[in-house]
């Protein structure tokens, strides 16, 4: 009996009753909460990709070293491991800061402040995309990496490279050393971008057979290397330790999955950045046009795109961790 009275009581207050959503239990707007739940689903998508990377990496005997793969810097010669990706991280972090400044200016209904900080955020996002474009271009054009070909490999045992005549050279390596397989027809200018780690001698590379970047013209089996039909130069080397000691082997491609995972995951993140930049631009123009002034809700739309933008930064923290740091 008591229950029915309560029920009737609530129905009486239909206009402002709790059951009709008179009060928001999360004290947040519908739009913001739904942005959060979209971001949860997106987080699971990215987590799935990154976990796939981890599982495939754990299943391989060797994996390309990030410090070796990501060691180029625009305009600089030599090895600068992780320098460029650190710069990219700073660009994205800075754009996250300008984004929160825009949100804060929105809270106090300062239209010009919102536009100013959003513009800086757009520039930060565009700068990040530019950096990523350069990184991809270096890997694809300069180092011949593709979705299915990974020219970055690592030695599983110590050994010594053979020179052009097929004799042992003074170019030695230890287990775990990285190498980048070059292609014919790339010429000498390419040699500076690549290199075989610290043992790379540059000038004596030519007489020791080097990468053969200038030595080999066509596919075939040569004393110092095998050139495959695609033009990749597989340098020959002699193993000096372990079960295979004394055996002559050729450089092999790295794990095939590496290129696909790298381009797909960083590409998916870059696509998020691109989407974010476009929406930031649209909302910035709306702000400048005074669309949100009438709403008098503290520029909530800026807050919502802000949530998305910080999420893109958050994902980068983990992409950075998984691809570059570990």
């Amino acid at each position: 009996m008591a229950e029915t009275t309560t029920l009737e009581h609530d129905t009486d207050q239909d206009e402002k009753g709790l059951w009709t959503g008179a009060k928001s239990p999360f004290k947040s707007s519908y739009g913001k909460i739904m942005m959060w739940y979209f971001l949860i689903s997106d987080a699971f998508t990215f987590a799935g990709f990154l976990i796939a990377y981890g599982a495939l990496r754990a299943s391989m005997p060797t994996w390309p070293m990030p410090d070796f793969v990501f060691r180029t810097f625009p305009g600089l010669h030599g090895e600068h491991p992780l320098l460029f990706v650190t710069l990219m991280t700073f660009v994205l972090l800075f754009s996250s800061f300008t984004m929160i400044r825009a949100v804060q200016e929105g809270h106090r209904e300062n239209k010009n402040g919102v536009v100013f900080w959003m513009l800086l955020t757009v520039l930060g996002g565009a700068g990040f995309l530019g950096c990523q474009a350069w990184e991809w271009k270096t890997l694809i054009v300069g180092e011949n990496m593709s979705v299915t070909v990974d020219p970055f490999g690592r030695h599983e045992a110590a050994g010594v490279y053979l020179d052009a005549a097929g004799h042992e050279s003074d170019d030695t390596f230890v287990a775990g050393d990285s190498y980048l397989m070059h292609t014919i027809g790339h010429g000498a200018d390419h040699a500076e971008g690549g290199g075989h780690g610290e043992e790379e001698g540059g000038d004596h590379a030519a007489d020791a057979g080097g990468h053969g970047a200038t030595t080999y013209e066509a596919a075939g089996d040569f004393p110092g290397a095998v050139v495959d039909d695609a033009g990749y130069i597989h340098r020959k080397f002699k193993i000096l330790e372990g079960r295979e000691a004394g055996k002559i082997m050729t450089e092999e491609f790295g794990p095939r999955a590496f290129g696909a995972l790298f381009f797909f995951i960083t590409g998916f993140h870059g696509f998020h950045v691109l989407t974010g930049v476009l929406f930031l631009l649209i909302i910035m123009l709306n702000v400048a046009g005074g669309l949100y002034v009438k709403r008098k809700n503290g520029y909530e739309m800026v807050e919502k795109i802000g949530l998305y933008w910080h999420f893109v930064d958050l994902v980068w923290v983990f992409v950075f961790l998984v691809f570059y740091l570990i």
């Binding site: 999360f26 987590a47 981890g54 650190t86 958050l314």
Partner: protein, 139 residues
């Protein structure tokens, strides 16, 4: 209101500075741990290095989500509705890393079998041995 604004401005600046410093520390650990810096004086085992960097990354994630995305200052129930589902990932990570290792183990077993098989076929040269007719289990 203006006091609120000033203090939140300060918090944003402080957060971004911490994030930047933590990022620099992470990169320094990644490079010195593998012997690229300080002539290899600070090399560390991979598990120490990786756990340090995962820890730092989680701290960065906390700062971004808590301060930049303001989740630390939302109603607790809402914060939990976002954070708790993420705990599902812990098992996903453990399970898939374990699975990856198992694939690696299987591959090593197969390579070892192939090697033994190759050695045996060299020893018994001249006899008719057709390894390719064997089934996947090597029988």
């Amino acid at each position: 209101m203006s006091h609120d604004y000033e203090s939140s401005k300060k918090i944003a600046l402080k957060t971004i500075l911490i994030l930047a410093v933590v990022t620099v520390i992470e990169v320094l650990i990644a490079l010195s741990g593998k012997g690229y810096l300080f002539n290899g004086a600070l090399m560390m085992p991979w598990y120490l290095m990786n756990s340090l960097m995962i820890g730092f990354s989680l701290y960065k994630a906390y700062l971004i989500v808590g301060e930049f995305m303001h989740l630390a200052h939302e109603v607790k129930a809402m914060a939990m509705s976002v954070v708790l589902p993420m705990f599902l990932l812990f098992w996903a990570i453990i399970a898939f890393m374990y699975e990856g290792n198992a694939w690696k183990g299987n591959r090593e077993v197969i390579l070892e079998k192939d090697r033994i098989e190759a050695e045996n076929s060299i020893k018994t040269q001249g006899m008719l041995i057709r390894p390719e007719t064997k089934d996947l289990n090597g029988h």
